[in-house]
Symmetry: C3
């Protein structure tokens, strides 16, 4: 029956397209959640965005898995920054979804409050590689490079584009 086939095809197409839009929104949400989760001071919430085998590669080191990332958030220097006032601001992510994988590129800005004044602490380019896992989208690899440290940040963007 032609009508039934046509209806099924339109439903299939809609479900597929909507799934992609939902994935894009889920990844925007994941990136957006990172800032508040870290700034809340909890050492466990932001690491949970990382897959068990996920890597967080920052200029000062490379960590694998949520536990290693949690340890970083328990560092006295980070805890002091949370206490005196810090904001991890997530720049608008450029999200590209491809099936069960996705890449998001954004620029993160970290601000501190010091002696009543606001200061820029770090400006970094970020490439987030994500994968759909049973619990939802997870970070497989996040690479973060400060601007103005040689060619690192620019090269990171170029490789990801």
């Amino acid at each position: 029956m032609t009508e039934v086939t046509e209806v099924a095809a339109r439903l299939d197409a809609l479900e597929k397209r909507l799934g992609i839009a939902e994935d894009e929104l889920a990844i925007i949400r994941l990136v957006a959640s990172y800032g508040p989760l870290v700034d809340s001071g909890s050492p466990d919430l932001a690491p949970d965005l990382l897959a068990e085998d996920g890597v967080y590669d920052v200029s000062y080191g490379r960590m694998t898995g949520p536990a290693a990332f949690s340890a970083l958030l328990k560092d006295p220097e980070h805890l002091n920054a949370v206490k005196s006032g810090i904001a991890h601001v997530m720049g608008l992510p450029w999200v590209r979804v491809d099936g069960d994988r996705a890449v998001a590129i954004n620029c993160t800005q970290i601000y501190l409050r010091k002696d009543g004044e606001y200061a820029i602490f770090r400006i970094a380019q970020n490439v987030w590689k994500l994968e759909r896992r049973p619990q939802g989208w997870k970070i497989i690899e996040r690479t973060n490079r400060l601007i103005g440290e040689g060619d690192d940040a620019r090269a990171l963007l170029e490789a990801a584009i």
Copy 2:
């Protein structure tokens, strides 16, 4: 008829899922509109985002309803800032929709231009509680806390997560 039932179920599911995605986009749009509406200098546009019974709770006071918020935007200090150059930049909101209610968390950055130089005026964490009203999504309560003023901003995030 099985086919008809199946088609109806798929349509129902699609309409529900799409509605949630549309709500999420509507709330991103609402938060995004706040900056330009305030920076345009109009004292009435941004307050219209607030429900009649909506509360705007800032570190220096707590206002209820659009009229009270409009009064703030007519304050000479605010008008001078608009004149000399101000930008209310809305950080990426982390939006969670739950039926006719939603919560968005973001960090707002306010910049000023002073003697040709740019300065950071305020960095604040924000929790926006929203509700679907006959005219669309409206702010029921927005709480804004500067970073580095005791534990206020961090505690606000923790309570909302």
Copy 3:
């Protein structure tokens, strides 16, 4: 047959609504891509977001078409900024889609790294007029005005709201 007509009407409505949500996401993606495309140092990628007849109107000039914009990105001053460290951060865009046209309003922040310190280089209000073209959404006109240069930035916002 009533059922068939009803199913077709629901499918039509879903396809239309989903198309609008997809357009909004596509425009968020386009704006988000601008920062990394410029910061990668490539003089051709960001200009490709502009329509052939598209205009980029900045405080220091008005360019028409991708080639004129590419020339700007090959300017030694810009290349030096890319080399020493620059980040074009796209503020959250307020997107309004109307059929094959759309308007996005956002605030852009440009940061530099200078002698190890971060500095704010430019804070500007932006109005992006977009159109659906055969290759997808393209910028027809982007106007960018620095805050605190007379009334330009505020007036730009007011006209676009």
